[in-house]
Structures are given as structure tokens and as C-alpha cells.
């Protein structure tokens, strides 16, 4: 910010003239420069990884990726190995990719809906103790995921019993039905953050709007569907994207609840397995990191216009 302020310091405020126009152009130029510098800084490590993933294994281990420019050597071998494998389990990556999608889609939808319902209730349905319910859900954000794995797993595999009486049976899921466990787990873990984020946006919606709708006789269901959801679309998109990324890149939950075979395990599990027993195959990890990056990036790019809808949400703010 200091560069910006020093550039404009010379210009007296309030002058809407040629000077003003110059100022505007200057600030936008310094701003652009700052933006470019940050973008370059932020991208360099990723770019280095990308170049590395295209270099032969012995080169990755002995020289820096920038030597590529003086001695360009490109190979697709790393990608070939990651995608199609050289082992008996070849050609399975496609299978793990399908698993990743099957795991991720419902694991984003469920928390999105449940968190939106809960956030709406906490923001706009007046009932006693709602502050405390909200604070409680908020505080649950800090429960470490690792601590939930054992109880949740025993909930699936042993059911619930109190003092020796079985209240809920074990799930005993086999085959593709195991995906349901993963959805369940991801939904549980996503709710506190989801409720917090969405509540924050929803509670900022103008109260008069809600009041007006209710005076017109709209039920909560109608208000929620017609009024609130469109207005908080950017927040939904934001939470949706982060939940998508979280689930897509998750290893811990998948390892426990989806297992490690092509039947139900996602790509992250497969990539971790390919690192080799003694972890020496990290040229594959560089390629693997890029393979798993493609889909989240596509999702982000296609969702970007929803973020801009924020303009719409803001315009109704009084």
C-alpha cells in the first residue's frame, strides 16, 4: 500500500480533472504491478513442480528445475506411470478417479444443504437458546478430526449400544455401498465450518426484506428458497468450493472409511500408495499432484462467476 499512497500523495484530493485521471491511471498501474508480483511469487513454486513433473527422474534429483531452460529435457514418463502404471494394477487410475467423483459429489451436496438449513434457522427463525446452539456448533470446529475417527468407525462397524442393548445396528456395508460411510463422515466434519460461514452471510441479509416477505404470508420454506438462497449464492459457492477441495484432497478420512482398493478408494489414496514403501518414488508424486489438481481447478474456474454475483447480494443491502 505504501507505493500506492506515495504516488497519490502529490495530488490534492478532490480535483476531478486531468490530474485525477492521471492519478487513477497511475494507481491502477502500481496496483497491476503489485498484483503481478504477488501472482508470480505465488505461482513460482507450483510452476517449478510442474516443470519437475516433466523432467526425467535422475534430473529431478540432481539439478534444479530452472536448469530446464538451459538444458530442456522433457519426458511424459512420470505422467504415464501415474496414469497407467507399470505394475499389475495398471490402468486403474481411471477407476480411482471415478471413486473420487463418487465420493466428492454427495460429500459436497449434503453438507451444503444441511448447513444452509441450519444457518437459516439460526439466523432468521427466532427460538429460545438459538445463540447457544450457534455457539455450540461454532465451537465444534475445533474438535480435531483425528479424534472422531475411532468413534465414527465403531458407529459404522458395531452400531450403537447403551449398557449392552443394541440401539442401532451396524451398517455392514459391502461393495459400492461403502461410499455412504464416506459421505456420512465428510458431512459430519464439514458442518461446523459450513454453518459458521453461511450463517455469517445470511445474518447480514436485510431484516426488512425478511419481514416484508413474512407479512406477505410467505412460509419459512418459501423465504428460504426464493429469497435467501439466491442472495447467498456466492457464500454457497465459496463453501461448496472449499468443501470440494477438502474432500478431493482428503487422505485421512478416505483411508479409514473407503479402504485402499480400487473398489472405493479415491485418487489421493492411490497416489499415496504409489509413493512406494520407502517413499523414494517422488517423481511420481510431482506428476500425481498435477493430475489431481486438474479437476478442482476446472471446478473453480467454472464457479468463478458465482463469486461475482456478490454484487447482486450487496445491492439489496440498505
Amino acid at each position: 500500500m505504501t507505493t500506492v499512497s506515495s504516488t497519490v500523495a502529490a495530488v490534492r484530493p478532490g480535483e476531478e480533472s486531468a490530474a485525477g485521471r492521471v492519478r487513477k491511471r497511475l494507481t491502477s498501474r502500481t496496483a497491476s504491478l503489485a498484483a503481478i508480483v504477488i501472482a508470480v511469487l505465488w505461482t513460482t513454486p507450483t510452476f517449478g513442480l510442474f516443470l519437475s513433473s516433466l523432467r526425467p527422474e535422475d534430473q529431478i534429483k540432481s539439478t534444479g528445475w530452472w536448469t530446464f531452460f538451459s538444458d530442456p529435457q522433457i519426458t511424459l514418463e512420470n505422467y504415464q506411470e501415474v496414469l497407467f502404471g507399470t505394475s499389475s494394477s495398471s490402468g486403474q487410475m481411471a477407476s480411482f478417479l471415478v471413486n473420487s467423483l463418487v465420493i466428492t459429489i454427495p460429500s459436497v451436496l449434503f453438507p451444503l444443504a444441511f448447513a444452509a438449513f441450519a444457518a437459516y434457522a439460526l439466523a432468521w427463525v427466532p427460538f429460545r437458546g438459538r445463540n447457544w446452539v450457534y455457539i455450540g456448533i461454532f465451537a465444534l470446529q475445533v474438535v480435531p478430526l483425528q479424534m472422531s475417527l475411532v468413534p465414527l468407525l465403531s458407529f459404522f462397524s458395531e452400531g450403537v449400544s447403551v449398557f449392552g442393548t443394541q440401539i442401532l445396528p451396524a451398517w455392514n456395508l459391502e461393495g459400492p455401498a461403502r461410499f455412504a460411510q464416506v459421505w456420512f463422515a465428510h458431512t459430519c466434519f464439514a458442518l461446523p465450518l459450513g454453518v459458521f460461514l453461511l450463517h455469517n452471510f445470511m445474518s447480514e441479509l436485510p431484516g426488512e426484506l425478511m419481514e416484508a416477505a413474512r407479512v406477505d404470508g410467505a412460509t419459512h420454506g418459501v423465504v428460504f428458497r426464493r429469497l435467501v438462497l439466491p442472495l447467498v449464492a456466492p457464500a454457497l459457492a465459496t463453501f461448496g468450493i472449499f468443501q470440494f477441495l477438502w474432500v478431493w484432497n482428503d487422505l485421512l478420512v478416505a483411508l479409514i472409511f473407503a479402504g485402499g482398493t480400487a473398489d472405493s478408494a479415491p485418487m489421493t489414496v492411490r497416489l499415496a500408495q504409489m509413493a512406494g514403501t520407502r517413499g523414494n518414488e517422488w517423481q511420481r508424486l510431482t506428476a500425481g499432484a498435477f493430475v489431481s489438481l486438474v479437476i478442482p481447478l476446472v471446478v473453480f474456474l467454472s464457479m468463478q462467476r458465482y463469486f461475482v454475483r456478490g454484487l447482486l447480494a450487496g445491492s439489496v443491502k440498505g
Binding site: K61, S88, V150, L153, F156, G259, M274, R278
Partner: protein, 452 residues
């Protein structure tokens, strides 16, 4: 039936079929062995597995820290066993074995079998009553195929739980036979010779030793192997056992002396870290890359286990007359050759017949031989035929393991409580490399030993 060793059993089977058919293990298709017809050849293939019974449609799950290509080879090895017994083995390899097996067991969803790389971890599960004792047949096979030293590591409080599976030998120093021949150096057979050699090499301007102990969350383990190897030589096997069992304190003067002895190499700026820099660079060098400078002539000696054969850059010839090879890390007395090693143990969380059949199969020499034929593999199983070894270092390791005079001791950090063996010991040794003095580090590890 299962009591018979492999060659005897093979002969019996051949005899019972009244054919001069040589059963050379599973899935062999020796063109010289005439198969009367399709049915006969199928039963010939399956004959070695007849003793394990039929388990049509049954499933057995295996959980293991072994992944990637090595995992594929496992599956390839037992494919004929699966086919002939009719069962299906689901194998799952994970990089988070130690943590995940705990979670899955606590969550009431353990696998049927698990390959434990640490007897200490096995003991924890056995003591918690989660593991099933091994069936009598597996116990017999183990007694027959493995030395008492090995069988001991699968036994907890007098109950036998787990048969050993694969193995690795840790007491190796890697070197370049070519470089040695060129410079006229010879392989040392005592510690003094080793030090003399190190000084000679240092005199030529090359740092003789290179090392790397960086290994992500397991950083430090290669240094603990160093310490264990020297402790085993300095204290002797009995005192080593006492140290592992914490009957000899971690900061005992004898231990301090042994650690200092390792320090005379690892913390000596004249001797390390060839190709990488000063002493401290050891803790930031990945263990996979620790010995690589040998191939570049920047370092001459690297102490690491037999499996390091897999980490040499592509095209490096591993052989007695090749680019790299290994010699036994010598002690003070060349007549005593204790061997430090490691391996996996097959623990069972279920006792269904099909699970026990897999356990029994994995304890046979047939299994180990079949696995060896497919690729690099070392087992301490006495039933393995050394001719099946895929490379010279495997051969050397198996020779050492099978030698009845060998005193074998398991990697101590794998036997200790994990809080020490996979925690403060690793951490302490990393601090030690980074400059902390021996006594401080050993006091710290001693203090961290869990009080039961």
C-alpha cells in the same frame, strides 16, 4: 503333512501322482514335465496347495505397510494359492500403517491379517487382547523354518502370535568395488581397520562417509540403526536385549560410549558428509539419497540396510565386481558377527479357517521361494533356496541369515514402545547429529520411556 519340509513334500506329491513330475512350487510350467491332460495339469498346479484345504468363495483381508511394486509382487505370488483354495485375498497397502491399524482395530473394523513391521507394535496389540494366537500348524512351521531368535519376536508373554515374513539385513556398509580396486583399498574386517581405511580415504581429500537421515515424519531412523549396530557389537547380544527391554538404562555409561563411537564417524567433520557438506547436512539429506555420492566418487562408504540396493541411480550395477556392493559392518572381534536386521510379522485378528490357511501358507518355504523368483526379496525362512535370489545382495543377506552361527538381533527401535522407538529415539538422534551432546540426548530419551 504340513510338517514336512518343501523338498520332501514335493517328492511325496510327485510320488503320489505316480508321475515323474517335478513340482517346483506354484504355477511352474516346466515344458519337460508332461501333463497327461488339462485336468491333471490343474491338479498338479494345485497339488502343493491341497494341504490348505478348499475355501470356496471365502474372503481374507490383509493390511500392510508394503505398497506399490512390492505389493503387486505379493499378490502375484499368492494368485495360484487363491485359485486353488478358491478364496479371495484383498490386499491393502498403506503409508500410514502404524496409525491406521490402531484406528481400525479400536473402531471394531480390523483386517483379518496384518503385516507388522515392528514386533513392538505387535506386542501392543497382543497385550490388548486384539490378536488371535497363531494356530498350532503355523507355530510348527515357524519352529521348523525360522531360528529361535526370529520365533521369539512373534511371541508375547509365552504365547506365539505371528510368524515372520520378509526380512532385511541392516549391518551393511555400501562401497564401490571399482573405486576400491582403483585406489588399492581393501574391505576392512575389524573396526580398527575400518577407521584406518576412513583416515586413508580422508587423506586423499575425499570425505569417506556419507549419510542421510531425513525421512519425513520418521526422520532420524537411519541414525538409530547405526547406534543399534554398534551397541550390538560393543555390548554383545545379551546386553543388547537388556537395553532393548529397558533393563539397561538408555543413558548407561556403556551406551554413552557406544554412541560416542558412532559419533567418531557421524559427528566427525573430517569423515562426513561426503557429497553433501558438514555434519549437519546429514539431518537434511533424504535417506534415499544418502549413499548416492558413492556413484559420483564424492564419498566411499555408506552404512545402510540391504534394501538400499533399490535406491541406486538407474544403471548402477550392484555386484561384488560392479559399481556398488556392501560389506559386513565389522566389530572389534572379526570372529563374532552379530547381524542386525528387520522384517515383517503376520498377525491375525481373526481365526476363521481360511485366515489360518493363509497364515500357514505364508509361513511355508514354498511361499518364500515363489516370492523370491518374482523379484528382489529376502526372507530368513530356512526353506528358501538361495539359488532363487534375484541379486547378489539378496544372496549375501540370505547367506548371513541362514548361517547357523549368525547371531541375529532385531532392530531395537522396532521392539521398544513406539513412544521411544518411533519417537524420542529418532528425535534424539536427530538432535544429536544437529549438535547436542551424547549425554544430554540419552538422558532425554531415558526420561521419555513410558512408565507403566
Amino acid at each position: 503333512m504340513s510338517l514336512l519340509s518343501r523338498p520332501v513334500r514335493a517328492a511325496l506329491i510327485a510320488g503320489s501322482m505316480s508321475l515323474a513330475l517335478v513340482a517346483t512350487g506354484c504355477g511352474s510350467s516346466d515344458p519337460k514335465a508332461p501333463a497327461a491332460d488339462g485336468g491333471d495339469s490343474a491338479s498338479a498346479e494345485c497339488a502343493p496347495f491341497a494341504q490348505f484345504g478348499k475355501h470356496e468363495g471365502k474372503k481374507v483381508s490383509i493390511y500392510s505397510p508394503i505398497r506399490d511394486k512390492e505389493a503387486d509382487l505379493f499378490q502375484e505370488t499368492w494368485a495360484p494359492f487363491e485359485k486353488c483354495t478358491g478364496m479371495k485375498i484383498t490386499y491393502e497397502g498403506t503409508g500410514e500403517f502404524e496409525a491406521q491399524i490402531q484406528v481400525r482395530t479400536d473402531g471394531g473394523n480390523p483386517p483379518d491379517l496384518a503385516f507388522f513391521p515392528q514386533p513392538g507394535l505387535l506386542e501392543r496389540f497382543a497385550k490388548a487382547g486384539k490378536l488371535k494366537p497363531a494356530p498350532a500348524e503355523v507355530k510348527k512351521l515357524t519352529e521348523q523354518n525360522w531360528s529361535a531368535d526370529w520365533a521369539k519376536y512373534g511371541t508375547v508373554d509365552g504365547t506365539f502370535y505371528a510368524a515372520p515374513l520378509g526380512a532385511s539385513v541392516k549391518s551393511f556398509v555400501w562401497y564401490s568395488p571399482k573405486m576400491f580396486a582403483e585406489k588399492g583399498w581393501t574391505v576392512p574386517t575389524t573396526w580398527d581397520e575400518l577407521m584406518t581405511l576412513s583416515n586413508t580415504i580422508a587423506g586423499t581429500g575425499v570425505k569417506p562417509w556419507c549419510a542421510g537421515i531425513e525421512s519425513g515424519e520418521a526422520t532420524g531412523w537411519p541414525a538409530t540403526d547405526w547406534i543399534e549396530d554398534i551397541l550390538l557389537r560393543e555390548l554383545g547380544p545379551e546386553e543388547y536385549d537388556n537395553w532393548v527391554a529397558h533393563k539397561l538404562p538408555f543413558n548407561d555409561p556403556k551406551v554413552v560410549a557406544a554412541v560416542d563411537k558412532v559419533g567418531s564417524i557421524l559427528k566427525n567433520d573430517k569423515f562426513v558428509n561426503g557429497g553433501y557438506g558438514p555434519v549437519k547436512s546429514i539431518s537434511s539429506t533424504a535417506f534415499q539419497e544418502g549413499g548416492v555420492p558413492i556413484t559420483e566418487g564424492k564419498c566411499a562408504l555408506h552404512r545402510q540396510a540391504s534394501f538400499y540396493a533399490n535406491f541406486w541411480p538407474e544403471g548402477t550395477k550392484v555386484a561384488e565386481d560392479g559399481d556398488v556392493f556392501a560389506f559386513y559392518l565389522p566389530g572389534n572381534d572379526p570372529s563374532k558377527k552379530p547381524v542386525l536386521g528387520a522384517g515383517e510379522f503376520v498377525g491375525a485378528f481373526a481365526d476363521r479357517p481360511e485366515v489360518q490357511a493363509v497364515q500357514a501358507y505364508l509361513a511355508t518355504g514354498d511361499y518364500a521361494n515363489a516370492r523370491m523368483k518374482l523379484g528382489t526379496y529376502v526372507s530368513a525362512n530356512k526353506g528358501v533356496d538361495i539359488a532363487n535370489a534375484q541379486n547378489p545382495i539378496d544372496k549375501l543377506s540370505i547367506e548371513m541369515l541362514q548361517d547357523p552361527n549368525t547371531i541375529f538381533r532385531f532392530d531395537g527401535s522396532d521392539l521398544m514402545p513406539a513412544a521411544v522407538g518411533a519417537g524420542t529415539f529418532w528425535k534424539g538422534m536427530t538432535d544429536w547429529i544437529n549438535g547436542k551432546d551424547t549425554k544430554t540426548v540419552l538422558d532425554y530419551i531415558e526420561a521419555s520411556w513410558p512408565k507403566s
